[in-house]
Symmetry: C2
Subunit: 410 residues, 2 copies
């Protein structure tokens, strides 16, 4: 029976893995704009024309020469001759001369000669005359050609996860399709003689597989295409067979369960046999999740996650997610909302491992309190009841009442 | 030409709409667990058996009677007879008597007679004897049957958007399928003679439709199934035809564009003609987004959104999203991460309307500063460059340097 002798710190483990594999996006594909929401942009987007492409009115009203309105007021309205009307979607084809006004809708093209628009609420129409009740300055109620974007201007950079407003802007710039990074295919294999799929009755001391479902959901969130490879029993031959197939077909492989150092630990041997350079990290000073494996086989990342689903979630977030996001091309993600600040409801101490504590957040008297959720890494409800994760560094304590940062589980 | 005479405050508009329509979820469907991520739970989930269903070891080691280890230490290890081994997934079928130890893997079923597990790191094995180097207390390194959940215990309530850990727990409780609320089908119609779809060349003073793409993305985020109904020109007959088809087929209808009060405002007339009670709110004291219509036609919500895409996004978030989320059955959403606190980089004043200001967030010297993004509601880049929205209440000012809350755009 082997035991973990020295554990790497989380920072050491990350550095070691980064040396072993430079993770790059896998390639790109073109998708229709309506399918692009949430995808990662792979091209640089520049405006190829001014946006808007003509001067537009921002209000319903009358296009005028602002000089004509210099003396206008409610008490002494200035009469202007209504010389015509701008129709939506058409170039005005009209000229506004001194003493003229032209009826214009919101978004209408400003006619030649006009340099401002009077809102209809500040104008009184009588037949072919409109009485202007307020002075407008040059440029008032007009969006200038190119005011949103100038032709050639850089708008969006590769590596950005496309939000609804980004998609809208792409539409405005006349992109019917957009180039995005391929989603990495990530295989999920769960191992353990004790596991059965939900829907099947357990026999003996069996339990239902949770990791396939949790990891699949997390992978979707990271922009990956999860590929569940099912449950494999604790046989080196079977695990290796399944892992080899997954490694051939997918861009990355996750094995969950059985990575503790023990006599029957077939996952470690299977990962080691997948390809060069093999296991680069085995055992990390983190709680939960110590028996984690980070490996590289023939240029593809392979992860051995603990079987306890809480540990697997923490390790996913700390070590797998960043790699999957890099494969997915994501480089511009900003996490402004998380972490949130809260006060700690109970003293916490970490000794030889960085402790990732599940906490519930409760607002009391205007303060957000972080209360540790009871239950170890085998207790799934601790993750369901938790709002976020609080990290206690190795060999340190956080005092009751201390201000802490909590990473939300989302 | 009509003009808005009195505007309702946002709160009045919400109250008036709530009186006109009590929004309820549409119905439910069963989906496989792997398809359930992000869906809204429609059933109450209780554990129908204890989880776990047997006492389990949380470590690799030896199941023992804790009393036998009372005097164990590294200097004076206690020898115990190795009476057998627990295999994963099987009931132990062994009894641990005084002086016995049984080899057990993480997750293994605790054999009869044992009340604690010694970690393998604290035990030295020599043939049929194991030397225990540390005292364990009763219950140590064991998860008790029912410690995660007791049979009958309530776990998840209807109205919750299912997260990866919730799906994992459902799997652990042997649910292969789960009952979720139907996603509301929401039609999006954009109106305006000036609009063309991306991919088509504009003629005259035409611009590319952005609202279809932005609103579709926002609806997906709210848990709806967006149904784009394309662009319709400014003709009452055409808009009404399209709106009637959408109203028949969808659970809610959004029309964007042309809801200003003007001579050619066909959207208002079309919405009014859709069904009883018709328009309940027209014009809200909010900036941007004043010319908003909230309507109910034969029990279905109908929204008239401004054509400017920035205004449409703000109004979606303020007035449409809550209705769509209620149709989708969502009731338990917590938004702990947003708003974030920041300091205002520039004084802001709102007069007769609640002002929704787009701000960029920049960290300087440990402080997050909120800087208003230039550009009115016709400027789409203002939404793309913004990180969030800051609300300035009617008739109020926020001073430079003031601490403010910013709702993230996400």
């Amino acid at each position: 029976m082997k035991a973990f002798t020295t554990l790497m710190t989380p920072a050491q483990a990350r550095a070691r893995f980064a040396e072993a594999l430079a993770v790059r996006p896998l390639g790109t594909e073109w998708v229709a704009l309506l399918q692009a929401s949430g995808r990662v942009l792979a091209e640089e987007i520049r405006a190829d024309a001014d946006l808007p492409s003509y001067d537009r009115s921002t209000v319903d009203g009358y296009a005028v020469r602002s000089a004509d309105t210099a003396d206008a007021s409610k008490g002494a309205p200035v009469p202007l001759r209504v010389a015509g009307e701008v129709l939506m979607g058409q170039q005005a084809g009209l000229e506004v001369r001194a003493g003229d006004a032209v009826r214009i809708p919101t978004g209408g093209a400003i006619p030649e000669g006009a340099d401002a628009v009077v809102m209809q609420e500040q104008a009184v129409r009588k037949d072919r005359t409109v009485y202007i009740e307020r002075r407008v300055d040059s440029g008032e109620n007009i969006v200038r050609r190119g005011e949103d974007l100038r032709a050639g201007e850089l708008v969006l950079r590769p590596g950005r996860r496309l939000r609804p407003q980004d998609i809208g802007l792409l539409a405005g710039l006349n992109h019917a399709e957009v180039e995005v990074y391929l989603r990495p295919k990530v295989a999920v294999i769960v191992t353990g003689d004790e596991l059965v799929a939900p829907g099947r009755e357990p026999t003996g001391a069996q339990i239902h597989d949770m990791n396939t479902y949790t990891l699949t959901g997390l992978l979707e969130r990271s922009g990956a295409l999860p590929v569940p490879y099912g449950i494999v029993g604790d046989s080196l031959q079977l695990v290796l067979e399944r892992a080899k197939a997954a490694h051939r077909q997918a861009d990355a492989v996750i094995l969950a369960g059985g990575s503790s150092v023990g006599e029957r630990d077939v996952v470690t041997d299977a990962i080691a046999a997948l390809g060069e350079p093999g296991i680069v990290v085995h055992g990390i000073a983190i709680r939960p999740g110590k028996p984690t494996i980070l490996a590289v086989a023939s240029g593809k990342p392979v992860f051995g996650l603990p079987g306890n689903v809480v540990s697997a979630m923490i390790i996913y977030d700390q070590f797998v997610r960043p790699v999957i996001e890099a494969l997915a091309g994501l480089s511009e993600e900003r996490h402004l909302g998380a972490p949130v600040r809260a006060r700690l409801a109970k003293r916490l101490v970490a000794r030889d491992r960085e402790d990732h504590v599940r906490v519930a957040l409760v607002a009391r008297g205007g303060t957000l309190w972080a209360t540790p959720v009871p239950g170890g890494s085998a207790i799934m409800t601790s993750m369901v009841l938790a709002d976020g994760i609080l990290v206690v560094p190795i060999d340190s304590a956080l005092e009751e009442g201390a201000e802490v940062e909590v990473q939300l589980l989302g």
